[in-house]
Amino acid sequence: MTIAEVVREASLEQVGYSSDQCLKCNVCNTVCPVARVTDLFPGPKYVGPQASRFRMGRTQPAQGKGTPRLASPDVTVDYCSGCGWCTTACPAGVKIAEMNSQSRARMKAGKRPKLRDWGLGQTDLTGRVGVMFSPLGNWALANRPVRRMMEFTVGVHHSAPFPKFSRRTFQSAWKRRQKRLGLGSAELPGPDKAVVYFHGCAVNYYEPDVADAAIAVLRRNGYQVIVPPQVCCGLPLISNGIYGQAREKANSNIKILADYARKGYTIVGTSTSCTHTIKAEYREMLDIHDDDAEVVANATWDICEFLLDLHDKGKLDTDFGPLDEDLPYHAPCQLRSHGIGLPAMDLFALVPGLRARDMDHDCCGIAGTYGMKKEKYGIAMAVGAPLFAKVKASGATEAACDSETCRWQIQGATGVRTRHPVEILQAAYKAADAAAAGKVAGGASGGRA
């Protein structure tokens, strides 16, 4: 029997049961970034397997249909940021971070969500409205008095690192482009020639550059991109304990994506948070176990994971041009929970001249929407402080990170422009093209060298 089998045998689907694995060894407490910086949080052992024995109804899905509303004895679990280091370091297989998220959901069950928590969960809504009125929205988010008012009324910290709204959503830009190129009604290329792109809210409302780079890199490697209708993956709703709406988002996405997955398409995402949610959290947190959900999970890949896999099969275009730079790289917590190592670093190793360095820091602090909240902002900044110092000390002009909120956090705290790894790869491809063009130009004038 392998470890995996032992863990599966010994534990049951429902996350709550995994507290049976706890040995009380305190290792989780040694790796918790939040417990490291604040006395408000007792650490994962306490709020996870220790407190779970005092909670009623742990065998039931959190906020499930027909789940009885039970009085919650919890308070301090709210300070768990969900970074997942506890689950990673636990030698016994306790799913501590997952348990904490569900306890938070139970804590909030039956109560009206705080406006702030609700608002931070409505990424599609804020995104669409913000993009529609983007000049005004961006002005407001940059305006100090407005931010202070937001903090006072809604509880979002005045310095929380919000990105700028784009002029239009990626979805609408994509549709326009498809129409312009007459591709709207064309037959879809097969799964060996195209991938489905799950862009996520960050790309849709704030970071179209990431999409541009991703699409270019995929194309270069022989893959067209299909962009089906999609909604927010639901993670901000899960994190804020609004499971009902999260399940709606999940089921909506699963329905559309399952179709493609069953046809053999790979679903590629540029947000490690979104892809992790689809791969694992729909099942673990929202207790969605149907075949469609499983088929979609199995078909979903992070883009660096996908590109590295291409490389392992010998199919990646490794003709990268030189990038002569120091590149600090931060591995997001939501990448670690994928369990795929650091594919971005392995890809960076293929780019000549690129001196990518893993900052080897546990968490940048933002933890999705956690660090944006008034009462948690200070904690988040303390958690990320050593990382920010390392990035600044590197003297680099840009940094890389696979998750959007981490990028905004690092950028906000250090002033260093932070990009998705796929943007770096695209830059390297462009450098190769430039060099080739230069050579051709040179050749045309001076013969082959």
């Binding site: 049976d20 040995l23 007792p42 005092f54 909670r55 742990r58 039931q60 009085a71 919890d74 308070v75």
Partner: protein
Amino acid sequence: MAESQTFDVLVVGGGATGAGVVRDLARRGLRSLLVDRGDFGTGTTGRYHGLLHSGGRYAMKDAAAARECIAENRVLRRIAPASIEDTGGYFVATPDDPEDYVAAFPAACASAGIDCEEIPVAQALRREPALNPAIRRVFRLPDGSVEPWNLIDANLADARNHGSEARTYQRVVAFEREGDRLVGATLLDERSGATTKIAMRFVVATAGAWSGQIAALAGVKLEMRPGKGVMLIFNQRMTDTVVNRCHKSADGDIMVPVHTVAILGTTDVRVPDPDVYEISREEVAALMAEGEKLFPDLGRMRLLRAYAGVRPLYQPPADAQAADNRSVSRAHTVVDHAVRDGVENYVSIVGGKLTTFRLMAEDTVDAVCAKLGVTEKCTTAEAILPGQVPGKTYWLGHRLAEHEAEGGGDAGLLCECEFVTREMLDEFVAENWPCSIDDMRRGTRLGMGPCQGGFCTFRAAGVAAEKLARGPSGAGAAAGPAGNGAQARPAAQFADELDQGLVGYLRERFKGTRPIASGRQLQELWMVLGMYVGTQGLDSLIDRRTVPPAVAPAEVTDARR
């Protein structure tokens, strides 16, 4: 150094029945003394299943017992809500359970006056998803769960409020008999070795399975039929509701959520001596197999320990010998030794179950009062026990919620698994000093969680040492060398006691782990041994020159320790 003290009644045996008897006696104006050879609740009461019976289990077989149960169930909810968790109970018909029993069940409950409501299986499964999805029918009955030690404490508090006393670690070693009366008793203090002489007008033996041993001291033959029941403690509550098989009583057919754990029981095997029995792996396996019929995934849930209790079963001589111990009556018997044995002022109360302890006590005290010419009536069913709020039953979350309300955190938790704070322990120690670590466990639940004392035992010893070194005035975080307080004791003296407490406690926990050592619990044990023997040099604390191991070489569990 012998002292003489006089009481109206000497009550021997500090379980639930003894506590109930001394409370009732005290309320009726009889100044009484309750003694136990150990801490209160270390006999059957401390080792029972934790079930507050609705009586459903007896409805089909023994209507009188069933009626008694439901009546007392209601009384206890009224007078001792803090000791009771209102879990509710299910009687479920699994595919293995005969249809005729199930069909007759609701009517039998109704005629015994037990609320029995059939609920849709889907509803039961929604509420308790771990249940066997193949169950056919579910009835809801007012079962509950009881933690016995604070129940005993509450009874004793009431007894003390009415002028009676209760003392631990006082073993009755002799009675003084004058003609047909017992006039005095000699008590041996198990901790100090001192003896005390007591003079009394009446003796009540509430010693349960040990009643025969007490009777022997009085020159009386009372043959008990102790019935061992093995139970398995699961780390988590896979159910918040008591679950019973709806069938004729058999082994392993009840799962009871009690505080933070769930207990599966039980068996019934005759043992000759209530202090000597073993728990075999086969018994554990057999219980698991039965439990899986209720909870199919039970085999994958973490077992904390196995333990056994011994039932105080008594077969009145008139009945024929029954081969199956289970058919011995569970209704209780007040044995009047005047009629039967020529001792005028001595009764024993035997049989029964925890749920009916108050009634057992009432029957007993009625008999005593009749003989003493006391006309006061019993008030124990009406009077709510001290410190309890009417209707406020135990809530699983209360320790966590209270601690969270004060800011939560691990710093103040001496036993993290069970949320035992420094304050709780200080309070217990202040009220009960001198006490052992095992006493602390019963009083606070220290060491009863997944680590089985691995992390909290030495902390409890540390608190005790602080008290002993600094005296009561020096408690708290003050700088200063040991030996400051007026009532402090020389260090080396109490160190030996602490060793025995620490080592003994870990040994006791190990006994419960040994029959079930596998999976995570075995790994936990290895980690704890690594810490204690490896890093902390526990071997150096064990004085093998004078103290033999607490456990005999063979697979024998000595319940007394």
